[in-house]
């Protein structure tokens, strides 16, 4: 049986009924637990928001700094044309071109490196496979090759210093530096002094031992070891570092967490170097056994930092491993370790990004459930 068509009045009365009646009081325990949960979520969202704002501010500051340097450079070039060196003093270097994956690590973490970015010293520039970056330095430029890591040391009045941890760098200084000034490319076991030349420095990792190879295309360079001159190279000359003991080899630039790694991890590294160093050096170089030992060493350092409760350090070390060895066999473990460490360190937004990176690479990986939880939390 059908009923009469509802009038407007009936409709409004029915709708009004929907808004009437008291809302019952909730179970206090359920309300309490929900409050905990939602407040935590809101807090995380607000933190992420703050992080975004901080990044925007940093970006703005960098842009302002770059603009200021540009303006200063133009003004300097115009006003101080007879003294072009004054412009070069403004920074330790600037990024002229970037190819592929290139990141720069500063005190506040690693970020992608962009063309035009100014390097003031203290940064560590890392390149991925088939990547590279051209950095303008002094009167020339340094081209960092793939899978390399280069620390830009803050410049002094007389010295520009680049610390090559791994990989290769090609330096070209078309003009001779002013008297008393020099550029130094430092490797784990040697220093290359330059006054005006073109040359390539490579740091290889052979059976766990860092070794340096220098080839000169133009001009003259000095090779220094332990503060003593070992060789003077001219155009066309090649030089390879002799096998050195771990004690005499200066450390490569490493994240703080690695320096604070567990003693056993460092001891393992030293033992490895020493054992190779004990081999006879008579014109023979150890056969390149790949980078696995170094990857393991960094991975152990990250685990040691994590086990010591230094989650931020662990995250940085995992990131360092991934930056240096993007195709590492430990990549999945390092990606998982990175987002978990960031999560434990309370860096929610960075953890979310890292978890998404893990899921993109390993959608069915062993840490999928954890990664999904972190990636979808916000």
């Amino acid at each position: 049986m059908s009923r009469p068509e509802p009038s407007d009045h009936d409709l409004l009365r029915t709708l009004g009924e929907l808004g009437k009646g008291a809302v019952p009081v909730e179970d206090p325990q359920r309300a309490f637990y929900r409050r905990e949960r939602v407040v935590r979520m809101v807090g995380a969202s607000l933190e992420a928001q703050a992080e975004i704002q901080r990044r925007r501010t940093r970006r703005w500051l960098w842009a302002s700094a770059a603009a200021a340097v540009l303006v200063a450079g133009l003004a300097g070039a115009f006003v101080l044309r007879p003294q072009p060196a004054a412009v070069a003093k403004a920074s330790a270097g600037e990024t002229r071109s970037v190819l592929g994956q290139v990141s720069v690590r500063r005190a506040d973490g690693a970020t992608p490196l962009h063309t035009g970015e100014v390097l003031v010293g203290g940064e560590v520039v890392s390149t991925g496979a088939r990547s590279g970056v051209e950095i303008g330095i002094a009167s020339g430029h340094a081209d960092l090759g793939g899978l390399s890591e280069l620390e830009i040391v803050p410049p002094t009045a007389n010295e520009r210093r680049l610390r090559l941890g791994t990989g290769s760098v090609d330096v070209d200084l078309p003009r001779k530096l002013e008297a008393g000034k020099h550029l130094v490319v430092e490797t784990p076991d040697a220093e290359v002094l330059v006054v005006g030349t073109a040359f390539t420095v490579e740091v290889g990792n052979e059976a766990g031992v860092r070794a340096t190879h220098v080839s000169v295309r133009r001009g003259t360079v000095w090779i220094m070891q332990g503060g003593k001159q070992r060789a003077v190279l001219s155009a066309g000359d090649d030089w390879r570092s002799p096998i050195v003991t771990a004690a005499s080899a200066p450390a490569a630039p490493l994240p703080k967490a690695e320096l604070a790694a567990a003693p056993e991890a460092r001891a393992a590294g030293v033992a490895q170097r020493s054992s190779v160093a004990a081999r006879p050096a008579a014109g023979s170089r150890p056969v390149d056994s790949g980078t696995l030992a170094e990857e393991n060493r960094i991975f152990r350092a990250a685990l040691a930092a994590r086990n010591a409760g230094d989650n931020a350090g662990a995250a940085d070390t995992f990131a360092s491993l991934l930056a240096r060895y993007p195709r590492s066999v430990l990549r999945e473990q390092a990606l998982a370790g990175e987002f978990r460490a960031l999560d434990r360190a309370g860096r929610s937004s960075a953890a979310t990004v890292a978890a998404r990176r893990y899921l993109a690479s390993y959608p069915s990986g062993f840490a999928r459930a954890d990664a999904e939880r972190v990636a979808n939390r916000l």
């Binding site: 709708l15 929900r34 809101v42 992420a48």
Partner: protein
């Protein structure tokens, strides 16, 4: 920074201060945001569903996610109270959930006992209160079947009692557009009710 004071009322942040804190990303204000807006959110969800559903807590969280997001993105124009804004967002979240259930039922017919379309009263001898309750359930169900913007406008105006100017601000349309949605929404609802009654 929210200034303190001897008077407890003076220590309670205003809506403006709360919104500023959210836009700054001040995580310490999370609890205050929740306590300030829970009433409005809970009320709106309860009115849409007619009860607290099994996933009520999830809906509360979803509403707060949207609230924080819109405040952070400065979508809230501060033209209405924060509670009214929260109530609008909660209504939107609730209707989305109601529509999702309707779609799920079409495909899976799952959990039918909780979300099934209310049966029309079979005979006139049903108790009056049960009949009235069934009528309200049917209206809710039909609202979920309507165009979202029309259903939400009808609900905000005729159920939650917001005026047209306020609804226009909250839904970011002109007052004329809000009025049009209200009129068309009521007509659509009445037509659906009539159609239902003719087939029952």
């Amino acid at each position: 920074m929210i200034e303190g004071g001897a008077d407890p009322a003076a220590r309670t942040p205003t809506d403006e201060q709360l919104v500023d804190a959210v836009q700054r990303g001040d995580a310490a204000m999370a609890g205050l945001v929740y306590d300030r807006l829970l009433g409005a959110v809970d009320h709106a969800l309860y009115r849409v569903f007619g009860r607290r559903e099994h996933d009520h807590d999830d809906l509360v969280q979803a509403a707060f996610e949207q609230i924080v997001l819109t405040l952070s993105r400065r979508s809230y124009a501060r033209a209405c109270s924060l509670q009214t804004w929260a109530s609008t967002i909660a209504t939107h979240v609730a209707f989305n959930a109601l529509r999702a259930r309707r779609r799920e039922r079409r495909v899976f017919d799952r959990d039918a006992s909780n979300i099934s379309e209310p049966e029309p009263p079979a005979s006139a001898d049903l108790e009056r209160t049960a009949g009235a309750r069934a009528e309200l359930e049917r209206v809710r169900w039909l609202l979920a079947n309507m165009k979202p913007e029309r259903a939400e406008t009808v609900f905000l105006h005729d159920v939650l009692g917001h005026d047209l100017a306020e609804i226009a601000h909250m839904t970011r349309v002109s007052v004329a557009a809000a009025q049009s949605r209200l009129v068309r929404g009521r007509r659509e609802l009445r037509d659906k009710l009539t159609k239902e009654q003719l087939t029952s």
